[in-house]
């Protein structure tokens, strides 16, 4: 197993993580469930590709355009569906996701169902890592603010949130648009990593996978989402030899997780990254000082 292969898996994990991070805000922190985020990925992917190929924009600008496109689409979807209760919202997003894919199947400008080949392969390991780090920092900062607490309040008790003055609709919309923008960037990265796009890549099952990843990592945990995306993307890739059986195992594993550990890997807790770094720093500093002291003794 060479670095090139591992790098490929990591890039794919990072691309999925981008979409999963957004969904984590929507599902894990705001309590809204979507089965249509593959649709936002698709919009991001096609708009980004349009940016680089048809408009000749630099990759970064095209990615931003893709994110904006996905967020804009989510705004319209949100306007008409966010007032729906619980599972109806979820069904509406399903319908939206599939509709996007079927529309793309028929848009000949983007290659229709046959797909859109020969995209520039601009996505590389560095870009994916940097974008993911930025994505995680933005999300973490958002969660640890009054806005983040309001998202969580809505997840816990919608009615009570209203009576303490939270504009529930606006917050839901914010969460939806941010999550769509993340998914859009994920989509943009995907197209420019593979070098081609096909509506088939954004099927219903893709949306399901994203939601499963968030739940697998644990609702309401960013570090859980990160681990979830890494594990669930790389495991099937590493089990390539298994080939046809891996999705069977995957399906069974999903059921098993739901019935045995529904709180997911992290169960709403975070790995205290900050604290770990601090500890590591002090220990290192201590080591160095200790060595100096020993060195001093020798002199």
């Amino acid at each position: 197993m060479d670095w090139f292969y591992i790098k490929g898996i990591l890039i794919l994990s990072g691309i999925n993580l981008m979409a999963v991070l957004g969904l984590s805000l929507l599902t894990g922190f705001t309590g809204l469930f979507s089965f249509g985020h593959a649709g936002f990925m698709a919009i991001g992917a096609y708009v980004t590709a349009m940016g680089t190929v048809k408009l000749g924009l630099p990759f970064a600008a095209a990615l931003l355009l893709g994110a904006a496109g996905a967020a804009l689409a989510s705004f319209f979807i949100g306007r008409i569906t966010l007032n729906l209760k619980g599972d109806y919202f979820c069904i509406a997003t399903l319908g939206f996701g599939e509709a996007i894919r079927l529309i793309l199947d028929n848009v000949q400008y983007f290659g229709g169902a046959r797909g859109w080949p020969n995209l520039p392969r601009s996505t590389n390991f560095t870009i994916v890592v940097i974008l993911n780090i930025i994505g995680i920092i933005i999300l973490a900062n958002l969660i640890n603010s009054r806005h983040g607490r309001n998202f969580k309040a809505i997840r816990e008790e919608e009615l009570a949130s209203q009576t303490i003055g939270i504009n529930v609709f606006r917050y839901k919309m914010t969460a939806l648009m941010i999550s769509a923008a993340y998914a859009g960037i994920g989509g943009g990265l995907l197209g420019h990593y593979l070098g081609f796009l096909q509506p088939k890549m954004f099927q219903f099952i893709k949306s399901t996978e994203l939601t499963i990843t968030v739940i697998f990592g644990g609702l309401g945990s960013i570090s859980g989402s990160v681990i979830g995306a890494l594990v669930l993307t790389s495991l099937p890739e590493l089990l390539r030899t298994f080939a046809i059986w891996r999705l069977v195992v995957y399906g069974a594993a999903v059921v098993f997780i739901m019935i045995s550990r529904p709180q997911g890997l992290m169960g709403g807790y975070e790995i205290p990254v900050g604290k770990i770094f601090k500890k590591l720093y002090y220990r290192l500093a201590g080591c160095i000082r200790g060595k100096q002291a020993v060195g001093g003794g020798k002199q």
């Binding site: 069904i91 046809i244 059921v255 739901m258 019935i259």
Partner: protein
């Protein structure tokens, strides 16, 4: 004009099969309040059981048909026991049921692909003959007629069970309020199993009919998502709604592919879904619930 009638009849026959599937979604939803996405997988398995019963085991159609229905009935009950019952005991939120159902659906689809059966498309042997009926200058396929007849009979039997038997009363009571029914002495655990069993039986029948009309392949489950849309269209949890929604969807689809383009056939279903959710989220005949402060 005859073209119009032709389309209408095609629509009715495919709509009636959608109805068999949609009723399965609605039955489960009415009691457990979640969308059972494993249903598509069960329909697919039914399709395969019927196919192999007729080809590999050379059963006559009626026997194969019953085997498929019983097989899927059993499968649906098994799924409830393994994938939902532990969640039910924990009072898990509806999303966990949906995800668990997705897991089952992924499992079923891929176990067929991975098994010696494989991903190939298979065609049912012809049972009802190729010669169409000709009524008033309109050709009506024998299969279409049989699909409509078998679906209608199955649905009538279902309605009879739900409206006229004691078990049916239990089902209706549980749909109205599961917890209160349990307190009033209804064995809701048994009712849930029966509901899954009934849904499964209908899924098997639908699977066989669907397979005969088109072909059998592991991804049939995805197509049956449209019957779910029909259930939403009619109002999730309402059986008459599911039937009406399905018939309408069947007709709308055949007209779309007949007069516009077959490429829009699938799209129209999902556009319809979003439209109905926006205009009337509880569907044509769904029950409303209001949260009490």
């Amino acid at each position: 004009m005859s073209g119009f009638l032709q389309q209408l009849i095609n629509g009715l026959s495919i709509g009636s099969v959608y109805a068999l599937m949609a009723v399965g979604y609605s039955l489960v939803y009415s009691i457990m309040n979640f969308s059972n996405f494993a249903h598509g997988g069960v329909i697919m398995i039914g399709s395969y059981i019927g196919f192999f019963a007729m080809t590999a085991f050379e059963m006559p159609f009626a026997a194969a048909f019953c085997t498929a229905a019983l097989g899927t009935g059993l499968l649906a009950v098994l799924i409830e026991r393994i994938a939902y019952s532990p969640l039910r005991k924990r009072n898990a939120p509806f999303l966990y049921f949906i995800i668990s159902a997705m897991g089952v659906s992924i499992f079923l689809e891929n176990i067929i692909i991975a098994s010696p059966i494989g991903p190939t498309f298979r065609t049912y042997p012809r049972v009802f003959g190729a010669e169409p009926f000709v009524v008033a200058g309109v050709n009506i396929g024998r299969l279409d007629v049989m699909m409509f007849v078998i679906s209608t009979i199955s649905l009538i039997i279902l309605v009879f069970i739900i409206e006229k038997t004691k078990t049916g009363m239990g089902i209706r009571a549980s749909a109205y309020n599961l917890r209160a029914s349990a307190l009033m002495g209804v064995n809701t655990d048994r009712i849930i199993l029966i509901v899954f069993g009934l849904g499964g039986l209908l899924a098997g029948i639908a699977g066989v009919l669907f397979g005969m009309k088109y072909t059998v392949y592991p991804q049939i489950g995805n197509i049956t998502l449209k019957s779910f849309i029909a259930a939403v269209f009619g109002g999730l949890g309402s059986l008459p709604g599911a039937v009406i929604g399905s018939i309408l969807l069947g007709i709308i689809e055949t007209f779309t592919s007949g007069y516009l383009s077959s490429q829009f056939r699938d799209l129209i279903a999902f556009v319809l879904l979003i439209f109905i959710l926006v205009v009337r989220p509880r569907g044509l005949m769904g029950k409303t619930t209001e949260e009490k402060a």
